[in-house]
Each structure stands twice: as C-alpha cells, then as structure tokens.
C-alpha cells in the first residue's frame, strides 16, 4: 500500500496543504468555547453590552474563517485524491497491458477489471478522507484536552481519564465487529452466488424439477445471513449507549469538581461551561475517527490488492534485435515442451516439426490435446518451457515482440470484436489499410456479402462484444481482420466452427487461392478442414503422434485413422 503513495508525489503541495488547512479550521473551532466563557464571565458579569456584541462578532468571524479554511482544505484534498486515482488508473491499465498471456491467465480478467474500477474508486475515497480528517480529529481531541489544561489542571485530569476509556470502548467495539462484518459479506456472497447459479441454470433446474430444493437452499443461506447481521448489529448497537454513559459520567465529574473549584475561586462559571463544551466535542470527533478507520482499512485492503497486481511482472523478456536472415525454413519447433503456469503436467511435450514458407499446416486432435497451445507458442503468447521455436532460422525470443507479431495474423477461437465501426475493427490489423484492402479481405473471409447487405456497409457500428452480429458473422470478421494485416503467417485456431460447411469450404478455397508465400496454420477438429494441407500434425494428449499428408497419415497413423473414421461413417 505504502508503495502506491508514489502516485501522490505530483500532488505533494495539495497533500500537505489540505490537512494543514483542516487543522487551522479545527483551531478556530477550539477557540469558540473560550470566547463563550469570556462572554459569560466578563460580558454578563459586567453587564457590558458592547463587549458581548463584539464577542458575538468574533464568534461569527471565527465561523467564517473556519469556513474558508475548510473549503480550501476540501479543494486541495479533492484535487490530490482525484489526481492520485487518475495517475494510478493510468499506471495500472498500462501495466496490465504489458502482461503476457501467462500472467493474464494467472490473475483472471474479472479480477483485473475489479482492481481497475471499484478498488481504485475506494482508494480515491480513502485518500480523500484521510487528507481531510486523519489529522483533524486527533488534533481536536488533543486540542480540547490542552485547552482544558490551560483552564484548570485538576479539571483537565478528568479529560485525561475519559479520553482513553472512550477510545478503548469505540475501537474495541470496532475491532470486534470488523471481522464479523467480513462474515456478513461472505454470507451475502453466498446468497449472490446461489442467485446467479439459479439464473444461469434455470433450464436445467426446471428440467430436473429442482425448484423447491433450490428455494430451500436459498432460504437457509438467507436466514444465515440475517442471523449474522442481527448478531453483529447487537454488538455495534452498544457503541452509542456506552459512549453516551461515559461522556455524561465525565460531565457529572466535571460539574462536581468544577463546583468545588469555583467555590474556592479558582474557576469561573463560564469556564465550567467551556469545559462541558470541550467534552462533547471530543465525543463527536472520536466517533468520526472510528468511521474514518473503517474507511481507511477498506482502502488499505484495496491498495494492497492493486499493489499486488503491480508486483506481477511480465515474465516475457525482450532481447535481441539482430537483423533477420531469411532461410529456407519458416516456423520450426525443436523439441518444444510447455506447461501452463503452475501446472504439474506439461500441456505439450517434445514437439518437433518444420515448415516452409507457403505451406498450409493442419493441426488436428481431440479436446484438450494441445492444439491451441502449439499455436499460442508461435507468436510468443507464452514462452516455451523446454526446447525452442524458430522463425526463419532465428529463435523467436531473439525477435522484438512487436516485430514478431507484426509477421503473424491470429484468428483466435473466440471471435472477439470491439465497439466501433466495422472499418475501425478491420484497421486493427493495419492502421493504414485502404477501403479496397479491407473489402478484399472481407471478400476472402466470406464476409463481404453480409457487410454490404446492410446499407451502412463498413460504417456499421458493432456493439460491445459484437452482440449485434451472429456467431458466424463475427468469426468471418475476425478472419478478415487478420487478413487485413497481410501477415506472413496466418493462424486459424478452430476459427470456422460457427460457419456452416458450405461457407467454410468456400473460405478454404479462397484462402488457398490467395496465398502467395503465406504460411497458414489451420487448427480444427474436422478432418475435412485440414485434409488438403501440405502437412498435418496429429496430436494426442500433448504429444505429436503423426505428421504427414492426409494420405500418408491414413496409412500409418492409427489415431488419425480413428478420427477420420469417426467423421466418415455412413458416408
């Protein structure tokens, strides 16, 4: 958390001035009871109306100066807090963008979004509160005590006694309840997850007639939540009554000893009233401080979570920039192994193959056999854990990452498009692409027809997540996007799964006609999608079990034969 304070550096001036002005305001507030005591002891006793009038003016003046100081403080603290949040948000967003696939998998998208949004908002509120109140409240508590000492030492001793007792009660109750509130939150999370589960599984729950069981389950958790809330409520309900008792006992003591002191002529009536005033100011500030501590603990927790993300460094190192020597080989895998994150087992192991520029490579295999893993290693989305991947004879780790990815167009399994026009989405591949280039790419990807069926054509606005397009349309657009890039290597990761067979066949034909020296990797579960490739890699459980053309594999690879037959029976 403390490390995050570096983002406040730009706002050093504001972060110092804000609490300073707050303290000024507090000092003026502390003077009020003294002025009032003066009115009573001098003004009233001497029946001096002009003096009383003047003192009334002083009271208003104190209020006015307090107002100005306070507003200045609020401005500086708002500026520092908001600026802090903006700087932090920028740094975090930029940091997240630098992470490699490995770290993204590890953190998870939902978590990253939460850190960037709600956590930073909480932090902003926390910083704002701290700047405004963290000095003010203790200052008033201490100040009131010191003022009491200036009036009378004996009376002040009552303050010395009351303040710690009050603090113990307030903070004791707080520390007792905070962990319980966490439990309440956990209970609430359970209620939330049951609700979510019942919505996403509405069909299955009804199909299996589980409605009443689910209701019972919910009622149980709901009751648990209520019991916990009532339990915590009971404890925190003690706070007000107990502090009330303590402060008023202090008051009784003040009046009693005050009366003794006045009787001896050491104190005046007005001073006793001033002391009573200080006592009630202390209570108000201690409670404010307690609320502040709750906000601060929350903010610190958020801060720690944000800092944890900052501490995750991209494991991908960028190295050499040696110029590229084109060799005969395009992509070469040399005894490559790879394991995800902390997984014990390797996702792929000991994979070796080589390709020539212009080859079409098919990759086939069952669910979870490592097809996509291999594909992800080529653009260095993950770093191999063993062996190496070479491109044009050079280890891909020796390329600049941007330079490497420049050469590769990837069409991922999940078709993802972004808000904005189709043209804007297409230009992701190439900022400078002309409309002709885009239309050409759309044509190859079998998307031209439906794009121009709409009168807006390339201007058609895609909604978030491409919600206004069908699955097949999205897939075709993502293929076109990769084509606009005119990459040297095109990777289609099961990218035609939502297309019907006729469209997929057309797409394949266009791709094979278009390519000049373009290397294409096609990942698929369908034999028909890859059977015409120059080279087919057959994967099973992370191992390469066959390599060759369709005809060769049919002869010598039993797994390929099985896959083929499973898709060909009855034909």
């Amino acid at each position: 958390m403390i490390k995050l304070l570096r983002f406040l550096k730009t706002y050093k001036k504001e972060s110092i001035l804000a609490p300073l002005f707050k303290m000024l305001e507090a000092s003026f507030e502390l003077l009020v009871p003294v002025v009032m005591a003066y009115i009573i002891d001098v003004g009233i006793v001497n029946q001096d109306k002009t003096m009383i009038f003047r003192m009334g003016g002083v009271l208003i003046l104190l209020g006015l100066i307090g107002l100005i100081c306070s507003i200045t403080a609020q401005y500086y603290s708002a500026k520092a807090a908001v600026g802090f949040a903006a700087k932090l948000r920028h740094a975090l967003f930029s940091h997240m963008q630098s992470l490699s696939y490995n770290e993204i998998d590890q953190i998870g998208t939902a978590t990253m979004i939460a850190r960037l949004t709600s956590d930073i908002n909480q932090l902003q509120a926390g910083v704002n509160m701290v700047l405004r109140l963290f000095l003010r409240s203790p200052f008033i508590v201490l100040g009131a005590m010191i003022m009491a000492f200036t009036i009378d030492v004996k009376e002040a001793l009552i303050f010395v006694l009351v303040i710690p007792v009050l603090s113990v009660v307030i903070y004791g109750i707080m520390f007792l309840t905070i962990p319980k509130y966490k439990k309440v939150q956990q209970n609430l999370d359970q209620v939330l997850s049951i609700t979510r589960e019942n919505l996403s599984g509405a069909r299955v729950i009804r199909a299996f007639n589980m409605e009443s069981q689910e209701m019972e389950r919910f009622h149980e958790k709901n009751d648990q939540l209520m019991k916990m809330q009532l339990h915590v409520g009971k404890i925190s309900a003690l706070m007000n009554p107990i502090t009330y008792i303590i402060v008023n006992l202090g008051l009784i003591a003040l009046i009693y000893t005050g009366a003794l002191q006045v009787g001896k002529g050491i104190l005046t009536q007005g001073q006793v009233i001033a002391l009573v005033n200080y006592m009630s100011q202390i209570l108000v500030e201690l409670i404010k401080l307690a609320n502040l501590i709750v906000t601060v603990t929350k903010a610190v927790a958020c801060g720690n979570r944000v800092q944890a993300v900052f501490e995750i460094e991209s494991t991908m190192k960028e190295e050499g920039t040696k110029s590229v020597v084109k060799t005969q080989d395009c992509v070469v895998f040399d005894h490559v192994s790879f394991a995800y994150g902390n997984a014990k087992e390797e996702a792929v192991s000991d994979i070796s193959f080589s390709t020539k520029p212009g080859d079409i490579i098919g990759i086939i295999g069952g669910t979870g056999c490592g097809k996509s893993t291999i594909i992800n290693l080529i653009p260095r989305f993950y770093d191999v854990t063993g062996g190496n991947v070479k491109l044009y004879g050079k280890d891909i780790r020796e390329y600049k990452i941007a330079e490497l990815r420049e050469k590769i167009g990837v069409v991922p399994q999940k078709a993802t498009l972004f808000r904005g026009s189709i043209r804007k989405n297409m230009k992701w591949g190439n900022e400078l692409a002309s409309d002709e280039q885009i239309i050409k790419a759309l044509e190859i990807a079998q998307a031209k027809e439906f794009v121009f069926a709409n009168e807006k054509g390339l201007e058609y606005k895609i909604a978030q997540g491409g919600k206004n397009l069908s699955g097949g349309q999205k897939q075709r657009l993502t293929i076109a996007r990769a084509l606009v890039k005119q990459p040297e290597i095109l990777i289609l990761d099961d990218s035609a799964s939502a297309l019907d067979f006729a469209t997929e066949a057309k797409l394949r034909r266009e791709l094979s006609e278009m390519q000049d020296k373009q290397t294409i990797f096609i990942v698929s579960q369908r034999v028909s999608s890859i059977q015409h490739a120059d080279k087919i890699l057959v994967l099973d459980d992370g191992k390469l079990v066959g390599i060759g053309t369709h005809e060769q594999l049919l002869l010598d690879c039993s797994i390929y034969q099985e896959i083929y037959e499973s898709q060909q029976n009855n034909h």
């Binding site: 307090g66 979510r196 009536q269």
Partner: protein
C-alpha cells in the same frame, strides 16, 4: 408510482407492527431524556455562581438525576438499535426470500430477456441498498424529527426569544444543503456517466487482453483510455469538491446559530430573563438542534435511493409468474413417447413469428433429428417440448394429453435433457450427477458415469466423485462438463430424451463412443437430437430439416440425400474443398 411503492413497503412492515410501535416509544423516550439532560446541567451550573456561592444542596440532587437519566437513556438507545435492526433485517429477509422464490416461478422468457447481471443486482445489491435506507430511515429520520420537535418544545419552555433566533436561522442550513445537493447532482451524474464509459472501455480491453496483445494494439487502447481518464479526473474533481462543501457550509450555519444564541442569550441574562445555566443549556441545544437537520437531508437522499431500489425489487416480485398448472392436470404420466404437434405457432416477440403451422407426429421410440442453419428454430422446438415456453397457437400432445393438461413437474420427469450450454451447480461431482435422482447408489452413479465415459477423468480428480466443483465448473474443461451432464441423464433413464448439441465440445473419437452409449439408451425411447455435425444424426429414424421456423424437408438420411435438396447440400459441403 412512488406512493404505491411506499404502500408496498408498509405492507412488508405490517408483520412487525409490535416492534415498530416499540421502536417509536423507545425513540421518544431516548429523545425526551436526551433533551432533559441539558436542562439539568443548566440547573447544576446555576448552583455554581462564583467564589463562595456554590450551593451543593442544588448541585447534588441534580447530578444524581443526571446520572439516573443517563443510564435510562443509554438503555433506551440500546434497545432501540436492536429493535431497528430486528425490523430491518427481517423485512429484508422476507423480501429477498420472496424475490428468489419468484425467480423459480417466472417464465423463462423473463430470465432470457433480462440480463442475468441485472436480476442478480436486484436480489442482492438493490435489497442491500434498501436495507441501508430503511435502517437509516428508522434510526435517523424518525428520531431526527422527534429531536427537532422536542428541542423546540423544550426551548419554548425556557425562553421564547432565543427559541425564535434558533428557529429562524436553522432552516438556512437546510437551504444551503439543498442548494449544494441540487448543484452537485448534475456533477455526480456526469461523473457516473464518465465512470460508466471508462468501465465499458476497461471491460472490453482488459476482457480481451489476449486479442489486444496479438494485434500489438496496447498503445492505441492506452491512448483512448487516457483521454477518458482525463475527463473522469475533471468530472470527479468537480463532483467531489462541490459535494464536500456541504459539510463546512452547514457547519458555518451552525456557528451562526451558536453565535446568535450566545449574543441574544447574553442580553437575556443581563436583563435577568434567564440564568447562566439556562444559557449553557441553550448552547447545547443550538449544537444538537442543527445536527438532525443535517442528518435528515442526508437521509432523504438515502431514502429516495432506497425507494428507487424497492421499486425495482417490487417490479421483480410482481412480475407475472408462469401460468400455473391446470387444476386437474395429470400428475402421474409415464409417457410411452407418442408426441404430436399440430399447427404449432410460436414467437418470442410479437413482431416476428419464429415458428408457424408446425405439424409433426412422432411414434414411441422414434429417433428424431433436427438440423438446419443457425436461428432456424431448432432450440425453440426444444423449448416448446419441455414447456420452457408455451406455444402461441396450436397444440402439443404427449400420449394424447395436451401439454397444458399435464403438470410441468410430471412432464419434465419424462424427459432427459442434455444441452449445449453445460451448467453445473456448485457442489460435488456426485451431487451434480444425482441431480435428477438424489437417492442413487454409488454403483448406479459409477455405472452412469462409465456409460458417459466420464468415470475415467472423475477418478483422476483429487477427490474423485467428492471433488468440489467451483462456480460454473471453472476447474473442468468444456468437454468434461458435457460428459457430466450426459452422466446425469444416463442415471435417470427417463422415457424420452432431448439432446441439444449434446456432444459439441467433445472430440470426435470420444463422441463416437458416447453416441454408442446413447444408441443403447435411445432404444425404445423417443428422442430428439439437435446436432451441428451431420455425421452424428445419420442413423435417425426421421430427420427434420428446418429453415426459417418451418420444416422444409423430412425423411431418412438416404432419402434426403436422394432428394438432392437443402439437406444434401448441407451434408455434402462438409466434405468439399
């Protein structure tokens, strides 16, 4: 509209009227004794006049009174808090329970149409917000008003003129607060709009980080982010700063009241109308009196918010439930599997008819496959058969009974269903498999899992059948989830089967094996199969080729190929280059 909502809230409160009455009495007690203490303090101070003139005869009894009163107040306060908690949390519990129970009775149309996130936020976040508002309303709004009224009465009983000063100046604080609130409202709206905008951007960019990386698009997206971030900073600063003026401003009004009381009070003392002790009592009142005003203005926004939340929750609770089962609906049907659809029409929205004049007769034990392009109405057919949706016209009959004359429970018992969208509940693997048959023995479970080829991977999981599945099966692959869903059906052995893309995520070799298991299972059972891969349906007794909500071709695989129509085209294209 709002009035209606408040009425409904009152309805939920009615059950707790005794507690509410108690709460009111306790609040009144607390307020009166809290207000009486400054008067006593004043009286005590009047006993302390100066050197040599301190009258302990006055002070002692007064201090005793204060002490007793303090304890009474504290106890009242404590009971009041507990009472308010009791009412609030019980009402919330009732509302949440009602909302959830409603979810289970709503037509699926509602759940499909409204975003899940939105419904969840109604049941959880809105209810929570409502709880906060309600609790604050009880604790602060009510006692606040009592406090104001009480203070005026107590002040009037001591001195008219000073009371007048206080009553005149205080509303100023309300005006200031209202003025600032009105000004800042626009700014807050602006801030939350900008915040929403940046959140959407974050959602999109971070959510698809992998694509961004693949296209080296980081810089561009950071640029866009920075532009929004700067705007958010400005909007945030305005909203934060202007709203934070409220406190100092009301504090200033407070200071004015205090100065006014001090000034006028001092004159009154000089003129002998009140004592110094009474003046000190007024000063305490002056401080206390403005506090509830400030609190109430805060509470009012909170209450408005709470009512808005309540409105949303009630909208959910009052949503029309699915049509209840008919009175004499059949409840013990053991279907043979004869299904007849006649002149069925259906539409999700009024404008667009999805299925029209659909006729079909399925004999017991028949295997029906449904194929066609996306959006042709395949899944809709399943929705109608299971009565997730009701037909808009025509009728569906099972064994001669109209679906409307069978209870939903009974109807669904007769189906085994595997959907493309695999859903697993949090719990163990075992709980998920036994969803349809909670009393199944271990042997039965294992047998079902074996039939679905799931036993192998389940065995390898850390705790086998007792392995916990995290929310939505995060720790399993899509294919494994589908195998579990299939095991579920293998265990129940219902008379009719519905397989909607049941093996789409499983590799073709495993699929063949499962198809075989299904083949055994389907023997003698009427079954409906929706599939993307045409190879999986060639053995069907009848293939329905659907397009735009109607059957365009119908027959066995070979017949359809011979017809050389739409089906033949679809089928052949999967082997073309």
């Amino acid at each position: 509209m709002k009035k209606g909502t408040i009425k409904k809230i009152l309805f939920y409160l009615k059950r707790y009227w005794i507690s509410i009455l108690l709460s009111v009495l306790l609040a009144a007690g607390t307020v009166i004794s809290t207000l009486y203490i400054p008067i006593l303090t004043g009286a005590a101070i009047d006993g302390i006049l100066g050197e040599g003139s301190v009258s302990f005869d006055i002070i002692f009894p007064v201090l005793w009174k204060i002490g007793i009163l303090v304890f009474i107040t504290a106890i009242c306060q404590w009971l009041l808090n507990i009472c308010n908690n009791y009412i609030t949390y019980h009402v919330i519990n009732d509302i949440r329970r009602k909302a959830f129970d409603k979810l289970e009775q709503l037509p699926l149309k509602y759940i499909d149409r409204n975003g899940q996130g939105e419904i969840v936020s109604r049941v959880v976040a809105d209810v929570d917000q409502f709880a906060d508002g309600l609790l604050m309303g009880f604790t602060q709004f009510f006692s606040g008003i009592l406090m104001i009224v009480g203070t005026i009465c107590f002040m009037l009983s001591v001195n008219m003129t000073i009371t007048f000063v206080v009553v005149l100046i205080t509303p100023l604080s309300l005006c200031v607060a209202a003025f600032i609130a009105k000004k800042t409202y626009v700014m807050f709206r602006h801030q939350s709009e900008t915040r929403a905008e940046i959140t959407t951007h974050i959602d999109e960019m971070i959510g698809n980080q992998k694509v961004i990386t693949a296209f080296s698009h980081q810089e561009k997206s950071l640029e866009e982010f920075d532009e929004m971030n700067t705007r958010l900073e400005t909007a945030s600063l305005q909203a934060t700063f202007f709203s934070s003026i409220t406190n100092p401003a009301t504090r200033f009004v407070n200071a004015l009241v205090y100065a006014g009381v001090g000034l006028v009070g001092a004159y009154q003392v000089i003129h002998g109308r009140i004592s110094v002790g009474q003046l000190s009592c007024f000063l305490t009142y002056a401080n206390q009196y403005t506090k509830p005003f400030n609190e109430i203005s805060g509470v009012i926004t909170e209450l408005q918010n709470a009512i808005a939340c309540a409105e949303r929750i009630f909208a959910l609770i009052e949503e029309k439930p699915q049509q209840p089962d008919a009175d004499h609906a059949k409840d013990d049907l053991k279907a043979e599997g004869k299904i007849e659809l006649s002149h069925v029409a259906f539409s999700y929205t009024k404008e667009k008819e999805l299925i029209r004049d659909f006729n079909l007769c399925v004999t017991p034990g028949q295997r029906v496959a449904i194929v066609g392009p996306t959006g042709c109405g395949k899944t809709t057919m399943i929705n109608l058969l299971m009565r997730f949706y009701d037909v808009t016209q025509g009728s569906i009959q099972i064994d001669g009974y109209n679906l409307f004359n069978i209870t939903r429970r009974n109807l669904r018992e007769n189906y085994g269903m595997v959907l493309q969208d695999t859903w697993l509940k949090t719990g163990t693997i075992r709980e998920n498999i036994t969803l349809g048959k909670p009393d199944a023995t271990q042997e039965e479970i294992i047998e079902a899992a074996k039939a679905a080829h799931a036993h192998g991977f389940i065995k390898r999981l850390p705790d086998g059948y007792d392995t916990q599945i995290t929310e939505d099966g995060g720790n399993l692959s899509q294919g494994q989830k589908q195998l579990l869903c299939i095991s579920r059906v293998m265990l129940c052995l219902p008379p009719m089967l519905i397989l909607d893309e049941a093996t789409s995520s499983i590799d073709t070799r495993t699929e063949i094996k499962i198809q075989k298991a299904f083949g055994v299972l389907m023997k003698g059972r009427t079954s409906f199969i929706v599939a993307h891969r045409l190879s999986t349906i060639t053995e069907a007794d009848v293939i329905l080729v659907m397009k735009d909500g109607a059957i365009i071709e119908q027959g066995k695989h070979e017949e359809l190929l011979r017809q050389n129509g739409f089906y033949a085209h679809l089928y052949n294209s999967q082997f073309a280059v």
